[in-house]
Each structure stands twice: as structure tokens, then as C-alpha cells.
Symmetry: C2
Subunit: 329 residues, 2 copies
Amino acid sequence: MDNQRVVLASRPSGWPTEENFRLETAPAPKPAEGEVLVKNLWLSLDPYMRGRMDDVKSYAKSVDVGGVMEGETVAEVVESRNPKFKKGDKVVARFGWQLYATAKDAMKVEEGRAPLSYHLGCLGMPGRTAYFGLKEIGQPKAGETLVVSAASGAVGSVVGQLAKSWGARVVGIAGGSQKCAYVKDELGFDAAVDYKAGNLHRDLKEACPKGIDVLFENVGGESLDTCLRLMNPFSRIVICGLISEYNLTEPYRYRNLRSVLVNRIRMQGMIVFDWRERYGEALKALTDMYAKGSLKYRESVVEGLENAPRAFLSLLKGGNFGKQLVKLA
Amino acid sequence: MDNQRVVLASRPSGWPTEENFRLETAPAPKPAEGEVLVKNLWLSLDPYMRGRMDDVKSYAKSVDVGGVMEGETVAEVVESRNPKFKKGDKVVARFGWQLYATAKDAMKVEEGRAPLSYHLGCLGMPGRTAYFGLKEIGQPKAGETLVVSAASGAVGSVVGQLAKSWGARVVGIAGGSQKCAYVKDELGFDAAVDYKAGNLHRDLKEACPKGIDVLFENVGGESLDTCLRLMNPFSRIVICGLISEYNLTEPYRYRNLRSVLVNRIRMQGMIVFDWRERYGEALKALTDMYAKGSLKYRESVVEGLENAPRAFLSLLKGGNFGKQLVKLA
């Protein structure tokens, strides 16, 4: 049985290209005693993967050149040598950009309550990121104004809906009128601001007449720097992602940091792994919200592992609309 | 009886000059029923005063053009029409850059335990700033590395000594070999780095072989941007002052904000007024420390109100060595 996998062919400098990836065919791995062999059904593509392509110190190890690209998948157990799992079980884990993998352990997912792919999105890592970032750092109170960037994306859409359900006024930043309409009309945000319209400061100011109390930042750069000018006293900034910076060879230069002092802002970086002991709490909250019909969610699907690099490059430019997935089987 | 006072003659653009100030003579005010008349003995000069000269939204109101420059003083009650105070009482309050003032209330200071002027420094606002910033935001744990900028100054020197007493390893950033020697030899910091030596990143890295766990930032600009490169996972940054930015017409542009995400840094701005209900707690802790001889402190004194503007301009360039005071009587 053959495995297909996408490996890192070379490290990018600045924007990656398809040449930085290589599709390989190799024999599928065999599970050792205590392991399972899984077949990946869905692969999640996420902005953090750009960081793994670089050889710089970060919170996680880089992918080696020649190594399989890292990524979370929903998979099916096809062979089990571990009594905890049986053939046909559905699991989620970091099985990478490939068709088959072996593992000692993985998180089982319950079928039937939600589409399997949702465990890579609103009920998975992006959903948990939204939940802990908001609950532990952003802490929006009823009546406060929350702004979230990349608002139509996997994390942003959950952030906004959670904050709405907690009583905040929610403003989303997204690229283009289609995404903005979705954020406002489908997700139910109070306002949406199109960063591509070219008047970000003016438009945000208009959308946030009482200033910003919580900023959930997924993008960074101009977006963050502009929001800094509108932050209220004692406001909070969740630094969840800085996608606009990941492909710059020279970092963005922030002008408005003085606002942190003047407004006594608390700005905090987050990585969802830091709450791994509490994943169950997030899953329960998000699943309940989904079951009540109050968690809207959108996916952007490409088919076939060979198309993963192209879809990933598009994601880095905001080309996706909703959570980006690769359907593998 | 004549009052002398320094008023804001005009607003500066960039670095202020002596022309932005004017020394005036006017009749001393008379206390109304319920008020006291005080004679200022010591005037504190502090970097935050630069902000009050600008007409921009900040956490505190600007000084009006023609208005008396704001500032904290130690004063003596010379006439009391308030039963809480009697002639000869020593008080601390925001009586401004002048010889006489009237007020309804002020904080009495106990004489004898420490020099009166210390209530403008290590036992006053700068001391409280160090105490609450460190205790509530920086939270150094035993064995952690703390870096403080403007280390020989009123706030910085207390920050370092407090952190040492709580078991942290303390590194100070100061300008010039004399201040660095003081920080290390007199204040007992573990290391001192001279930012004027031109190798801030290299020297800091050498002084902090295990990285930085807490940064207490009084300066901003290059100092903060350089420290961002050395911050550890889960480290904290107290944004207490950004003196290097106060005179720039174009703000400093920070390059290394990505460290906040990668290292899950918590960066928080602070203004000591936010803890005003707890000033007594800080005074007790600092007075105890002083009484035990474990709070070293240095003053830089000029005599005469007419010299306040010049001393203030020098302070903005780091020309002071220790807490800058003006002796008025």
C-alpha cells in the first residue's frame, strides 16, 4: 500500500512558492505493537504552518527539509495494534500532510453530532484557540466592544460568535465585501470593516464609536497598529496570530505602542497548546453552542493532497473564505 | 507675600527648550475656609511631565498654556483653615512648580524616619510605581531574570532592589560607566549594561544568559525593541515609561513585536494612580525596607525654582544621576 506525502523541499525566504514543497510516494508505514495505522480523511491548513517552514527559534520545532509538512487531520483507523482503538474509529491528531500515518495515540472523535471536518475547525484547534484566547485573555464584558481580525476565518468567526453570546458588541475586520457581508449577515456581527477598502482607521473608528475594549488579533501589521490608536483604557489585546508578518523578510514596524502605556493595555500572546489540559472544556462549550444552532461556520475545501501546497499559499494571501481544508478521501 | 511659579509658556514640538517655560511672580494665594496655605520645600521632576506639555489625549489632562506646570512637592503648612492640619505640618501633594499653593487636602508625612525629600522618590510616587508595577504586573519569581531600564533613576533603582529582595536576578540598563558602576556596586544589582556603549543586544545577551523573564521598561524605543528579542516564554513586560519616545515627532518603530506571540509575553501598561487605594501598602513595604537599610537611594538636587526648567530638560536626556529634585526652601 502506497503513502503519498508532501514534504518541505526547501525553506522559503519571504513568500513561499510551490517549489518549496514536493509530493512524494513511499510505502505506507506499518504500525508497531501498541500503534495504529490511520488513513487521513481531512487535512487542516493553518497560517501557523508558515512558521514551521522557517529555521528560526519559535514555540515549536521547524519541519526539517525533506520532512513531512506538519498538520492536523481527521483520520480513520485502518489497522489497530492498540487495544484502545478499533478499525473504523475516527480520530484527530497531528498526522501531517500525507495519506497514511502511524501513531501510539490520538483523540477519538464522536461521529454524528457534527461533520467530521468540524473537528479541524470550529470544534477543533481553531475553535479552542478562540475559546481560550477570549476567555483567559480577552475577557470581554457585556456591552464592551470587541474587534477581531481575519473575522471570516476559522478562529475569527468563532471568536466573534462567542463574544456575541457573552454580550459584547462585535466588529470584524475582513478582506473584501463578500467576506464582510458574510461576517455581518451570516455570523451576526454588529459591524464589519473591509481592510481592502483603504480607509481602515476611519472605517474602524466609525464602526467602534466607543473605542475598542478587546482586540483579538490574527493578522498583525497595519491592522494591529491601527487598532492600537483606538484602544480604550484598560483594554486587552490577544495576540493570536500575525499572518501579515509571516512572509515579510523585514518585520513590520509598529508606530503606536505608546498606547499600551497611556491606556494601560494588557497585550498577551497565546498558543492554544498552553491549555491542552482543558481541551475538554472548550469542546463541550463549542459543541453545545453548535447543537443549539448558534455556531455558524464555513469551510473552503480543495480535493486531493497534491493541491495542498497551492491551497496553503492562497490561504496566506487571504484567498480562502472560511476554514481551509484539504479533502483526502 | 509673593509667589513664584513656572508656567508653560508654549507647547514644544519635539524636544522642549527653556523658552517653553516662563518664571512668573504673583501674589501668593490666600486659603479659603477649609483650606491650607503651603510653602513648597522640594519639587519633584519626573519624565511624565513631558506628556503634560503636549495637547494630546492621554491618561491625564494637559497643562494649559499659561498654566502652572504640574508636579508633586513636599510642602510645609504655613497657614491652616482646615482642622485636619496645623501650621508646621509636612505634606505631599501635587502643588506644582511654584513656591506657594492652597489646597483642601494633602497627604501628611511623618518626619524623622527618612529625609522629607524621600517622599518624592523611593518612599513616594516613584517608589509606589516600582512596587505596584513589580508586584501586580511583573511578578518576578525567585531565580528569574529581571531587566530594568533607567536603572539608576528613581523608579528603576527601587525596582531592582525590590526584585532582588524577592529573589530575582537583576540586570540594570543605564547610560554611562558611572551609573552602571553605581547600579552594580551600590545598589547591588547582579549586572549593569551601558546602553551608550553601542552594543546593547550583545551586552544584554551576555548579562542575561538565561534570557529575560521580567522587563520593567522605563525608556522604550531601542531598549524595549532589543529586550523583546531576549524575552523568555511566559515572560512579562511592565510598560511604565517610554521616555525615549516623549520628544520624538515621529514615533519609534518597533520591529520585534512578534516575540509577544512566539513567547506568549504579557505586556501591560501601568499608571500608578490606578492603585491609589493601596498607597498605604506600598509606603509600609518601602519604609520597612528603608528602615532595615536595604533600600539605597540617590538624589540629584538643583537649588531654586528658576533652575527647574533647565534641570527638567537635562532629566529628559538622562543628565540626572538618581532622583531629580529642586530644592525650593
